[in-house]
Assembly symmetry: C2
């Protein structure tokens, strides 16, 4: 665990579409887990396959990351804010990461990091406490999320250990070294 654990971070993937988004949404969830988020929410189409594949990763690789489907994202986010949490929306239109990350890290609040798909409703920009850009160029919600979490945790996530892992990798200059712990 890292030293930031007085607050928690969840990722919210908006508007998932099973056919089109299955791989990108999976990447969003796996990045969220690998980079230290505590769990993820998603809205749009419910996708049991993705939920199952994340469960399988957690079972093998450890930690307690979980994914929850949310029918009404507006209600969820309003509830979150009412309960003292803050929301950060990653968008190429937002304020530059390096300008705001210190304030976000220092707020002491639980955080939801919102990543959209193709079309993000205008309401998201208004409801978010922070609209943050990871470059002002078009690229990828997966790329944006990973750099955001990397900066939020100041690189400490790179060496994070996951509890109850059945599989662990021992870093190598060449080749693969995997330890099985079960």
């Amino acid at each position: 665990m890292n030293s930031h654990d007085t607050w928690r971070v969840f990722v919210f993937r908006l508007g998932h579409r099973i056919e089109r988004d299955k791989r990108v949404t999976t990447h969003v969830f796996l990045v969220a887990r690998a980079f230290g988020a505590h769990g993820a929410f998603y809205s749009g189409q419910r996708d049991e396959n993705i939920e199952e594949s994340v469960r399988r990763v957690v079972k093998n690789w450890g930690g307690s990351f979980s994914v929850e489907y949310v029918e009404n994202w507006v209600e969820k986010i309003k509830w979150w804010r009412k309960n003292g949490g803050e929301t950060i929306h990653l968008t190429m239109y937002g304020l530059p990461l390096d300008e705001v990350i210190g304030k976000i890290r220092g707020s002491g609040k639980d955080k939801i990091v919102i990543v959209g798909g193709e079309k993000v409703p205008r309401l998201v920009y208004e409801i978010a406490d922070w609209n943050v850009s990871i470059t002002s160029q078009p690229h990828s919600e997966v790329g944006a999320l990973s750099v955001f979490l990397h900066e939020l945790y100041m690189g400490s996530e790179l060496r994070r250990e996951f509890e109850n892992a059945k599989i662990k990798i021992v870093p190598q200059a060449k080749g693969k070294k995997i330890i099985r712990l079960d």
Copy 2:
């Protein structure tokens, strides 16, 4: 431009499959461009749609990023190394990013950053000068690439300007502000 421009960085996406990888490979290319790489190569199946969609982004958003299809990746990488360039393979099995990034940044050599898909041939691990892990957890080649480039360029890529852009974003706390320059 940034201060690292004595050396150049290209991204090599191995084993692209049109149906399965179209969105993830597009994300790889757009992250490469947005985070300051000079261009990308890819092997596997040739995909004119992806090439065209990257060209469209470059035309609108500026810079000179280009994508080149490579039939024989082994030859290309051998040629690259023979001509003084180095190769970095991003893999969860490699050495931790923070242990090696300083040496990679300081080498002064042109770089190819290799990202694989599902099954990466063993030869890649052997042929690479560096096998580098961005966490030792399963996640995403898009996430790995973005954090790698972010660390390579030490965050300077976040404020990069692209020449000859027709569209530019002016960062906003709320909403969208787009300037059209043509």
